[in-house]
Amino acid sequence: MIDTLQQAKSFIQKYNTHQPVNIMEVCGTHTMAISRHGLRQLLPPNINLISGPGCPVCVTSAYDIDWILEIIKNHELKLFSFGDMIRVPGTESSLLEQKSQGKDITICYSPTDALNYAVKNPHKKVLFVAIGFETTTPLSSVVIKRAAEYDLNNFFIFSTHKLVPPALKLLVEDKQLNINGFLCPGHVSAIIGSEPYNFIPENYGIPCVISGFEPADIMISIAMILRQLKFNQPETQIQYKSVVKPEGNLVAVKNIYDVFLKADSRWRGLGPIAGSGLELKPDYNRFDAKLNFPVKDIMPKQNPACDCGNVLKGLKKPPECKLFAKLCTPQNPVGPCMVSSEGSCAAYYRYERFNLERT
């Protein structure tokens, strides 16, 4: 790894034009890897890595959290949720707080856990909070298909699934931002392939490189972006070739669209984005928690001083938020970027808030 990393460093030097370069890492796993391995310390000062909106927890809107909290407040059911989603604050509470106060909430690692529970407990209503980008959606699709096969009437999903390319379109069209290159997400791209990013180099002249997650992968991907910039040849390249194929995983994509339709979606910090979410097709309405547990008058409130929106757009670095490391810490997170283990604020707090000298 060290040899590859040294090669990547020399490529970065070779292709660096010493002009300011803003590279957005879209994916939260990249954000965490960059901070955890201290990769900023290895980069020339003109290369600025910006954390993007690629953490599904961070972009889940308070509106959705409040809706889920209302459901469990008004209905006797068992809720299954992935990992740190349960920490995300709604207006007045979080799933973790509700769990501590006795609500039947279980952290699961696969939606099939929720489905299996529903099959074994036909008299108990089961709600699965479906979250994630294109990476996790195929799993949700499979459990919905199975729920239909089993003819379940006690299984529901609350879809907060989101699609990455529409959010990138919003970012490249934002006049305030000046992104010179994207490190595209490895796991999402394993499902959708490289084609959905092509509009970025073709229409906006911005390089895209789909990167793996090891330090050397990320450094090599940065060098690939610099090379594209230096020779003015913007395109979508795949660095993470061991996992990502240009066409993606066609079976997984088919599974997604067998069950879901594209829909508008609210993104925390970015607002509503047309066609960026997924809702169940009418054939599967009986599993849709939003239809079966309607809630009126959700008026989410967030701390107005929280800068997660600007952080998610890359307009601000986490330490530039007034609340960072003061009112907002991983123990008492105000915004979702501090909640998620892959949020950019959590990454900065955990690994970069100390003033270590660049080496």
């Binding site: 790894m1 060290i2 990393l5 994916c27 939260g28 796993t29 965490m32 955890r36 391995h37 201290g38 990769l39 310390q41 290895l42 599904p56 927890v57 992935f82 990992g83 740190d84 989603m85 349960i86 920490r87 973790l96 707080e97 501590s100 106060q101 952290i107 699961c108 690692y109 696969s110 856990d113 979250i131 994630g132 980008f133 990476t135 996790t136 796991h187 999402v188 997650f213 330090p215 810490t329 991983p330 123990q331 283990s341 892959e342 955990r350 690994y351 970069e352 100390f354 270590l356 080496t359």
Partner: protein, 342 residues
């Protein structure tokens, strides 16, 4: 973390028991607020009691692991190793253990027999007897299958004094093998994961290994059992209580490929994963090599390594020097480590 701030959490959450920052706040800001005294406040793995010219070590621990049987051990073995190892941090000879069982009605006798057999084998290996005990059975649902509490009493050899207070700049930090095996072994056995892995818990009584190093060196300054909260938490606690900075090197901290793979997959950091057979040792640099050689001759220390050294007094930071030449500060874990979503 001896800053006694007010404990502000309104309810107890799972993260108050994970060995990280919330556990530290619960102990320092609430429990010690009510119960603190000069002995308890030292927060060592074992309390030292001076009586009649002798120095006794006294410790207690409770075991609530799920699943109760896992590769490399079970809750019974764990309950003996945990307390034996806490006593071993003082370098003492164990006089005896107490053993307290709380079981849920309906608990299968065959499981209890298996646990008792494991306890017998482990206590024989550790050379310590169970000399008092208690048994309670509670209504189904009041506990999860079986909880065990063990306490241990030992007598410290004349003149021996191991303590965080003795740590000094230049000390080498040694650990007796790869980290994270226990925590990941338990995790991969959980029903919700169902990973097919060959990872075996490192659960082991380390008192014989400690006896061996103490017999070879009088310059061992402090020992700490790296259990809940993992290696990082131990280093941070020791840096904090000794008021010394520490430098550790990731290339010397061993993590098996399987543990690393599962941690990468789930977004967990092996530095914060629990161990049950790892002792972190702070040793004067002059004796580091002889101690390392001695540990490597013990079956529980064959992969021991020097992972870093103690820095100057005054700063309590722990700096991890990565294999790629970068540096980062370690910090307390802020809550339960939860697997990432994508």
């Amino acid at each position: 973390m001896n800053n006694r701030k007010k404990f502000e959490d309104q309810i107890i959450q799972l993260s108050h028991g994970d060995g990280g920052l919330k556990t530290s706040q619960l102990i320092n800001n609430l429990i010690l607020d009510y119960l603190g005294n000069s002995t308890l406040n030292k927060m060592e793995d074992s309390a030292i009691i001076e009586t009649g010219g002798s120095r006794l070590a006294f410790t207690t621990d409770s075991f609530v692991v799920n699943p109760i049987f896992f590769p490399g051990g079970d809750i019974g073995k764990l309950s003996i190793c945990g307390t034996v190892n806490d006593l071993a941090t003082t370098g003492c000879t164990a006089l005896g253990l107490s053993f307290s069982l709380i079981m849920e009605e309906g608990f299968p006798t065959k499981h209890l027999k298996k646990i008792l057999a494991s306890i017998k084998a482990t206590s024989l290996e550790a050379g310590v007897n169970i000399i008092t005990g208690d048994t309670k059975v509670v209504e189904k649902g009041s506990v999860d299958k079986i909880f065990i509490n063990t306490s241990g009493l030992g007598i410290i050899k004349h003149g021996l004094s191991l303590s965080t207070e003795k740590i000094k700049a230049g000390d080498k930090i040694i650990i007796n093998g790869p980290i994270g095996d226990h925590g990941i072994s338990i995790l991969s056995q959980r029903e919700e994961f169902n990973f097919k892995s060959n990872i075996i818990s490192d659960c082991a009584p380390l008192n014989s290994m400690v006896d061996e190093i103490i017999s070879r060196s009088r310059r061992i300054h402090a020992l700490r059992d790296a259990t809940r909260g993992g290696l990082a938490t131990v280093l941070l606690e020791m840096a904090d209580t000794s008021n010394h900075s520490m430098n550790v090197y990731s290339k010397n901290i061993k993590v098996t490929n399987e543990v690393k793979g599962i941690c990468d997959f789930l977004g967990l950091d092996p530095l914060y994963i629990a161990n049950e057979g790892k002792m972190v040792m702070f040793v004067d640099a002059r004796d580091a090599d002889i101690v390392l050689k001695t540990i490597r001759q013990n079956k529980y220390g064959q992969q021991a390594s020097i992972i870093g050294e103690v820095g100057p007094k005054g700063s309590c930071s722990v700096i991890l020097n990565t294999e790629i030449g970068t540096r980062r500060m370690l910090d307390m874990q802020y809550g339960e480590q939860l697997p990432r979503i994508c």
